[in-house]
Symmetry: C2
Subunit: 221 residues, 2 copies
């Protein structure tokens, strides 16, 4: 019985490619993000989102109960995708040096996968309306606990190994994140003139100053 149901269900969904609520919810979220990146959050209306998704106008109310909830869901998914990709790109072996782990975060954040026209526009659009949309505010923070922890632990390791002040770790962590934040703004403001390598080198320089003897420029990359 169960296996039969599953097979039939799979067939049905595959054949029609419609009647798949979950897939359509996803379609709406993607269309929302694309629309925001394309024409700005001010002009992102229910009609425009449905138009882009190819679904009917009633779907948003049906699946999300309203535009606001869809926006929140889109922000949540966008944030989740960012951190998932960040995790994937910073999954170095357990024997990687703390410097390498930190710079992996920096370089991931500056890579085209995470830092591109679409993501920057969406990110800043959400941040711009976060103050008046409590639901979205939760997902517009850079202070992801896990990421903060990763950085702080790495900085502490460096301090232990090279005898630096362990109290620096907190400042180094939020400073690194602040620098990355600033780089995103620079990218948004001037995508043509922005240099990923330059931005990475700048942050490395700042960290090298904070932890003398560490973060020496690697000429390999």
């Amino acid at each position: 019985m169960e296996s039969l149901e599953k097979v039939e269900g799979a067939k049905g969904r595959k054949r029609g490619a419609r009647r798949d609520p979950e897939a359509n919810k996803q379609l709406l979220i993607t269309a929302t993000l694309d629309t925001i990146a394309d024409i700005g959050i001010t002009d992102t209306s229910v009609s425009r989102i449905c138009e882009r998704s190819g679904l009917s106008r009633g779907m948003i109310h049906l699946h999300f109960g309203g535009k606001d909830n869809l926006l929140t869901a889109a922000a949540q998914q966008f944030s989740a995708e960012y951190y998932a990709e960040m995790d994937r790109m910073t999954d170095l072996g357990p024997d990687a040096s703390p410097e390498d782990r930190i710079m992996a975060v920096v370089e991931a954040d500056l890579s085209e996968v995470l830092l591109n026209p679409r993501s920057t526009k969406i990110w800043h659009a959400f941040r711009g309306i976060a103050s008046s949309h409590p639901g979205i505010a939760s997902y517009s923070s850079t202070q992801d606990e896990k990421l903060v922890d990763t950085l702080r632990r790495a900085f502490r390791e460096i301090a232990e190994r090279s005898g630096h002040d362990p109290g620096l770790a907190d400042d180094a962590t939020s400073g690194t994140l602040a620098l990355l934040e600033g780089m995103w703004v620079n990218y948004l403001t001037d995508m043509q003139g922005f240099s990923r390598e330059g931005a990475g080198a700048l942050i490395r320089r700042f960290l090298a100053g904070l932890y003398p003897g560490c973060f020496e420029a690697d000429l390999d990359e």
Copy 2:
């Protein structure tokens, strides 16, 4: 004749306190910024702005030709006010040390005059829609030429005096601005938990690392 006109004009404006196009334009711009800070840029409509300013709904089209132009004018004025205040607060004597001049910029940017709930909300709201509003984009950049120049020159002076690499100045400049950018985001995200002193100390620490021997923590302040 002329003096008589002036007197009468002054009297007339003072008595009625109306019929003053320039003052009303100003009123509209202020109402626009206040509305954005209050209810968010998404809900900032012509009606709401006029409601807050106490003027009639036709005024926006009359004085600015449309909502978009008003928004642009508001962004421009907001930006101008920021830099004017920044200038005022960093006008140290000509014999001030480059470190003091740099830290004056940092502390001004973190002071309540420039960094407060209203300004942060407005700033990020404008930045969020900048991508789709070319007119506003011009005023949402941190890269004010004059400010950049002030910082760069100060960093160069430090390099000359203490024998550091002069090539650092550019990185130090944009790094400082990036750090400040990140601090504004932190403030927006968590106004309660934000510490102006902590933020200033963090930036000083980063700069002290970049320029060993300089930017030692001053215990006076």
